[in-house]
């Protein structure tokens, strides 16, 4: 085996190949649509086996940086501004990461038969029992977010017995429900009397709303609405270019 290019291979070879190609795409040397070298050409350039360059190219394809077409070759993909990774952190983690004291307070908890509104919100047709929870998260004793949650007990029966007076329902679910899918909807509203009171802000002040709907294998688990003061809270989504 030989190193056809430059320096010593501190990282592994396939990572270096991947980084080399990534760099050329990033700098624009290889613009969108450009055909990158065939595998056998890269094999010759780096003096390695095909499996090694294949691993590098496969990862680039998985990251949507390139597109691979049989018989045709591999091509640089057009950048997709529209896709970004949004980090909706666990609230406790978010607050402690800011170096502030996390506070949690259960405001309301009720177990009831699902109303029509509940079923609509959870996206289920059958009647069943639900737990409705309202709570507040605070940072250094200042209200940070209010949470209004509905848990489908037919999916998570254990939630009926759970004590949410000290542990937030979000973290409880994280520890008791195996793996989930979720959909987030972000919107803006102005605070009504009730919201303003809960968040200690003025009526008419802007609020950022995150509605999260969570399910597992087509089974509804929970629906939650998080309300943040809109002028102080910000969601940051960083687009990864690979």
């Amino acid at each position: 085996m030989s190193l056809a290019t430059d320096a010593a291979d501190k990282p592994t070879l396939y990572k270096r190949i991947r980084a080399d190609i990534e760099k050329r795409i990033l700098t624009g040397e290889w613009p969108p649509g450009h055909r990158i070298p065939f595998e056998h050409e890269l094999v010759a350039r780096y003096g390695c086996s095909r499996m090694t360059v294949n691993k590098a190219l496969s990862e680039l394809a998985q990251a949507d940086l390139i597109e691979r077409r049989r018989r045709a070759g591999s091509f640089v993909r057009r950048p997709q501004h529209q896709s970004a990774v949004l980090k909706i952190a666990d609230i406790r983690a978010e607050i402690t990461a800011l170096g502030r004291a996390y506070g949690y307070e259960l405001i309301h908890r009720k177990l009831r038969a699902a109303t029509a509104a509940d079923r609509d919100r959870l996206g289920v047709r059958k009647a069943g029992k639900v737990v409705s929870i309202t709570c507040r998260h605070s940072a250094d004793n200042v209200p940070f977010a209010v949470e209004d949650r509905l848990i489908d007990l037919s999916s998570v029966p254990a939630a009926a017995a759970a004590d949410f007076s000290r542990e937030p329902p979000g973290s409880w679910l994280l520890h008791h429900v195996p793996w989930t899918e979720a959909e987030h909807t972000i919107s803006a509203i102005v605070a009504d009397d009730h919201t303003a009171d809960a968040l200690a802000i003025a009526v008419g002040a802007p609020c950022l709303v995150i509605d999260r709907y969570t399910w597992r294998s087509a089974r509804t688990i929970t629906a939650v609405r998080l309300l943040y003061p809109g002028d102080s809270h910000r969601l940051v989504a960083r687009f990864k270019g690979g």
Copy 2:
């Protein structure tokens, strides 16, 4: 080679292995923290070579479904609710996808030397020229979003000569700047006089704000603020469980 499990391998073997494991994680059969079989055990179970199961496990690790630790094994990771893929679609695409007529209108365009505020917004220190653009996107002639953008001409000199009267600056940049990274910040505000007028909404109505800052290889390209009527517009982020 043999098939130790069930049916014929319509998809490829490593995909089947990956899907099998993914399923057990999803259903909760293998909860977070659970050690999944060692590579050599999977090799025995599926009757294939180690590289094949390694490929399956590597992809699961890349998708953050499992964590691999040398000498210890591979473990099911805790679900990460906080990470979601936010689709911030190109506005034109978003509107046409809704089956509505896309409209674009340039409100203001000015080429100027960067002011202190401009440099602050773009995150650059050196003085230089910028293009400032204000424009409006509409759906079926109803205001959909107003865009306020700053382009750094030292990074994108061609933008000085670009005509943004018909083509939105976002799509122009997409076609002229090779590959970019971006950071999005989402917040909520209430409409002031100016905003209310531009979006044809009431003063004090909620607005969703997306601030996008774009760069390439540590070079600033553009900063843009998009304002949407908060009660009608929604950002949807779907969390993929693998």
